[in-house]
């Protein structure tokens, strides 16, 4: 149905012409889901945009051919291309929050789209819209169609987006990371829906994703991309089951496995990292010794102990005269972390994982409960003095490495900040030396010190963030989704780094993630949060072998896994 041959897309820019994809060939048959998988910058989305004719200017198709059935997509006038978009090719975007107009009801958006492409009456369009919503699994569609997007949950919204893509009976749908913004439970429903639509309606899909688990779940064929070129392509079971290209193999090895814990990940080579120069090794050794010399031997008691912790947020005011009901973000949390171990905290979005971290570091004020750190009481955020020793002892690594480093400061300044602030090192030259050594320890080149954050990739920034945390000589590290903004191979690097540091310096880590497979790689003990409450807690290996609570069982079964392919491997 769709035949792409030798597609090359270029972006002319100030620094010469950038070739985003080069020599791509692929086909999509009716009823087939074709996965495009690769890390950021692989050109996945560019291919999708080229097919639907929505390349961001100044991007242009330099060569190759695109044919949909008998139509040559490159020969179309803008007018004709506009008619084909929506009518024969539709698109599903990543974020259902932004791809629906918040000021229009679902009904209006669906009917508008149907009427734009077909000459039928409003009543007929409305009937079609309701039928569509029912088909994609929205119950009681006739009543709910008048709702606004914000009245639907994230998963429901993504279904509505799919309904919008479907309402003109397209032959081909391009789904660009359709489940990346969704929780696992919702993700599996949406994937199921896509599969069903391909089977029953015979629609061809191009599914763009970075998640190999998703590819393994529902695609028929897969194309593995890297740097705008095809690394490997073929039937999904064959490519993932018996990968022939080294890159595919490395990519597969970097995916955290839900079914087993690895000591270290194997990594595909990444450019821009510190080569193993003797000099860099010496520097790393210097930083390591500095860290070791500052270690205080932990007492035998728990590093962090939390009892009866509750956090409430002000609710939204619905009446002028009644105080709003508070929203309980965390209720009655009790946990304890043994020194030198990693406690994994898992849960879906909104389960209170991040709130827990923020309560410990003092960014939010708990309503009740007691926290003890290394045997001493930990004051609540509002009354915790700026000079409280815990501010040094507990350090945090944030989710988004693009916002956790001040983009106007050089790396050297960012790293020297904790040394200066906590009075660890008074001599500026020595501070600089330590900052450079710490960069070597986390595997970055020494010249990084005079550069700015935007000159680094996400994974490198995350390592800088880890270096900053380490320069405070902490005994306790809180990692809030430290790898969820990163590509798998980069994620593997950061996880390796954290594992190494933890083993070497006996750090205690609170590791927060929505990804069970990642937590399995890191955690000694595990806590499962749901709607602000702990539903299950216990040693990690026992949890993954035999989860007790029904919610944990469900969560585990919904996480896409590569286990299916193990037989073939």
């Amino acid at each position: 149905m769709l035949v792409v041959e030798n597609l090359t897309v270029e972006f002319p820019g100030r620094h010469g012409v950038f070739t985003a994809v080069e020599g791509i060939s692929m086909t999509v048959a009716p009823g087939e889901i074709h996965g495009l998988v690769g890390e950021s910058g692989a050109g996945k989305s560019t291919i999708g945009a080229a097919v639907i004719g929505l390349l961001q200017p100044p991007g242009r198709i330099a060569s190759g051919s695109l044919r949909l059935g008998e139509t040559d997509l490159r020969a179309l006038t803008p007018e004709q291309a506009h008619r084909i978009r929506g009518k024969r090719i539709s698109m599903i975007f990543q974020d259902p929050q932004t791809s629906l107009n918040p000021l229009m009801t679902i009904e209006d958006q669906l009917i508008e789209t149907i009427l734009a492409h077909e000459d039928i009456g409003t009543q007929a369009a409305r009937a079609r819209a309701i039928a569509l919503l029912e088909e994609i699994g929205i119950e009681n569609a006739a009543a709910r169609i008048g709702a606004y997007p914000h009245q639907f949950s994230g998963g429901m919204r993504q279904r509505v987006v799919i309904a919008l893509a479907l309402c003109t009976n397209p032959e081909l749908i391009i789904a660009d990371e359709p489940t990346t913004a969704l929780d696992v439970a919702v993700q599996s429903q949406v994937l199921e829906l896509l599969r069903r639509l391909a089977d029953t309606r015979g629609i061809g899909f191009i599914l763009i994703t970075h998640d190999i688990g998703v590819i393994a779940e529902i695609t028929d064929r897969v194309t593995v991309l890297r740097g705008g070129r095809v690394m490997e392509a073929g039937a999904t079971a064959q490519v993932l089951g018996a990968p022939t290209h080294p890159y595919t193999r490395a990519l597969m090895a970097a995916v955290p496995r839900l079914d087993r814990k690895l000591e270290r990940f194997l990594l595909p080579a990444v450019e821009g990292d510190a080569p193993d120069l003797p000099e860099a090794v010496d520097e790393a050794e210097y930083a390591a010794n500095w860290l070791l010399s500052g270690l205080r031997h932990a007492s035998s008691g728990p590093a962090l102990e939390i009892a009866g912790l509750s956090v409430r947020f002000k609710g939204t005011r619905t009446s002028l005269f009644h105080a709003p009901e508070p929203f309980a973000a965390l209720s009655d949390i009790a946990l304890s972390v043994k020194p030198g171990t990693v406690l994994g905290v898992v849960g879906e979005s909104g389960s209170g994982k991040s709130t827990l971290a923020r309560a410990i570091v003092g960014l939010v004020n708990p309503a009740a409960g007691a926290m003890r750190f290394a045997g001493e009481g930990l004051p609540y955020g509002r009354v915790r003095a700026r000079s409280h020793p815990v501010r040094r002892a507990i350090q945090m690594v944030f989710q988004d490495p693009y916002s956790s480093l001040n983009s106007r400061h050089r790396i050297g300044e960012i790293l020297a900040e904790p040394l200066k602030l906590y009075g660890i090192e008074r001599d500026p030259a020595q501070r600089r030396r330590l900052a450079g050594a710490m960069l070597a320890l986390v595997g970055l080149a020494p010249d990084a010190i005079d550069r700015y954050p935007h000159q680094f990739s996400g994974g490198q920034r995350q390592r800088i963030a880890v270096a900053r945390a380490l320069l405070a000589r902490p005994s306790f590290l809180i990692c809030d989704e430290p790898t969820s903004a990163l590509d798998v191979s980069i994620q593997a690097q950061v996880l390796n780094l954290l594992k190494d540091l933890q083993a070497r310096f006996g750090l205690t880590i609170l590791f927060i993630s929505h990804n069970l497979a990642v937590v399995r790689q890191m955690a000694d003990d595990i806590v499962v949060l749901k709607a602000g409450r702990i539903v299950e807690a216990g040693p990690s290996e026992a949890f993954f072998a035999a989860p007790q609570h029904p919610y944990s069982v469900e969560l585990l079964s919904l996480t896409p896994s590569l286990a299916l392919l193990d037989g073939a491997a």
Binding site: V361, L363, M396, F398, L405, R408, E417, R468
Partner: protein, 300 residues
Amino acid sequence: MWARWWQSDGFWLFRRSPAAILAALVAVLILGGALLAPWLAPSNPYDLRTFDLMDGLLPPLWQGGDARFLLGTDDQGRDMVSAILYGARLSLLIGFSAMAIASVLGVSLGVAAGYWGGRFDAVVMRIADVQLALPAILTALLIDGIARGLLPRELHDDLRIPVLILAIALSLWVNFARTARASTFVERRKDYVEAAIIMGQHPLRIMARHILPNILGPLLVIMTVDLAAAILLEATLSFLGIGLPADSPSLGTLIRIGMQFLLSGEWWILWIPTLFLVALVVSINLIGDFLREVFNPRLR
């Protein structure tokens, strides 16, 4: 250093934007002319002894005027070139000072309001709302009136320029405060600020060293646009006679004087200072637009 500047994205955009180049050229010429007025101007328009009534109302050179007066003279025999250069000097001095005071006041209040939120924010922003409801002329009259009441008469005349600067600054700080507050609100929730809070850094240090550099882009745009606004405001106030007296003419005063000759054929006394003011304000605004483009990452 120069090579890096030449290579930077901002300068690359600049080289590609004829409007920005032209505006910068005009602004630099006017700024240079104003700064060097005492050396460039043929005569000193403040020194009444150098005027000769016999030279009064001479037209510009190309309309058959006198070779000594390129742009003609006014009714006192004052050379228009000198008057405009000195006038622009005064206008720019007032504009820059007012903008500087307004930005320091507005940005500090705005950043603090955005950072702390709550009651402080509410108080500052309500004051800003009230300030915005008062026309600049009223603010100027108010301050002028207070100054008149408080200061002895001879001191008051000397202080007309500071009073004018203060009045203009007070009517412009709200722009800075609102923008700084809104940007701070966004930055406040970013992880790097939270990281600094967790570390226990002093709030003032977080505001000055972490937040301020990150919100400088939009503020720089406001600075240029408000510089133009301050110059216009000064011209308006002087035109209405609230600002500067006729013996120390700014551009606004010159335009007011020129008004009297609008219908009697001596067009140059009004039109030349007016066109000069328009050129100055338009070029500053164009530079502001250009900066807006440079600092908006989405437009790159």
